[in-house]
Amino acid sequence: MILADALARLFPGAPRLQEIEAADVAALLDALDARWPGLRDRVADSTPRIRRHLNVFVDSQKACLETPIAADSEVLILTAMSGG
């Protein structure tokens, strides 16, 4: 799992590259939040859904909170192009 630099900077000590066991994206965010309290809030809102200007990719496919994750999946949490 790879975090966007701007996201990792909000959590001093959080490595950009981590190995995490999770069944889906929501569970992945829960696991990240347990290690770095508040991280889930930065990625997903209270709807709940991935924030509008962030993208989560699972194995290069754009994902939502319910997207399943396999044991060898690569997950990217990236900031979207925002602004103009």
């Binding site: 909000l10 309290p37 809030d41 990625v43 809102d45 200007h53 979207a80």
Partner: protein, 363 residues
Amino acid sequence: MSKLLLLLGTKKGAFLLEGDETRRDWALRGPFCETWPLNHVIADPATGTIWGAGGNEWFGPAVWKSTDLGRNWTHSSQGLAYPEGEEPVKTAWSLAVADGALYAGVQPAGLFRSTDGGESWEHVQGLRDHPSRPDWQPGGAGLILHGILPHPDDSAQMWVSISSVGVFHTADGGRNWAPRNRGIRCDYNPEDQRYPEMGQCVHGLAMAAGGSHRLYQQNHCGMYRSEDGGRNWQSIEEGLPSSFGFPAVAHPRDPDTLYLLPLNGDSLGRYVPDAKAAVWRTRDGGRSWQALRNGLPQEGCYFGVLRQAMAVDRLQQAGIYFGTSTGELYGSADEGESWRCLAQHLPPILSVETLYVPGHVPG
């Protein structure tokens, strides 16, 4: 030695100007908070803790916190959320310290309380339970709770300002709220509906010094004073160059003295009238007004000043400060008689507050 800090919320993070009681020299520090837009940066004078309310298009709302005068910052939004399925909180807009708690106003309009110094938040549900809420209509910048005014002596009382909705008051710690807009004009309603119970666009709300129930309000449509905690308002705009502006700042000790920064009008560009900057002061509760221009730009000046971007300090001769949409900070160390530009080329300034840090007396 004692310090005086000016706390700036800007479109690109928090900045601090650090000076002393002479208010001659200022050192700029920042930007802090990862350059997030910060709508309001305040401090608790009792502890020196600084908080910044804001939100980022990528990462949502948060309240930032520093316990070492801005050197290190943390952020939290734990509990700063509406229930699942409701429109999520987009950004935090306003902060206030009251009776040991920290309050945050957010967009879409709502109020949150923290009793652990901003680490976690609980929703003050009573405000959004008000029966008028389905009729709350967003203003130009959205449906925003942008002002929180705690009662200085009665912790159960508080006023909040919501743009295009009006002022609400609680007398029971936030369980029940009542609109406080009687006498305020709403120029955008049909002629026979210009004084509704709510729907007025409050811009700035200030309490006069002295523990009375006198409030002042800069509204989208006029300037007002209330002598009864907002139950009734009277227009005090006669003598001002415009009925439109954002901030209203009360003198720290004189209940009759108030500072405003009128802009030319809501549909005329929203800059200072005639492109000449002036702070307007009353010393008689709004019966008469004086323009304070000495040291402020008097030609080609097209900035605006937003609702939270003017502040006073509490020194013997009060200092007045305002930050502009063009990133300049102006200050007066003599109650507005003369002004200097204290900082320029900053991002658009959204809020200005002051923090006095007493020096240690050698023991």
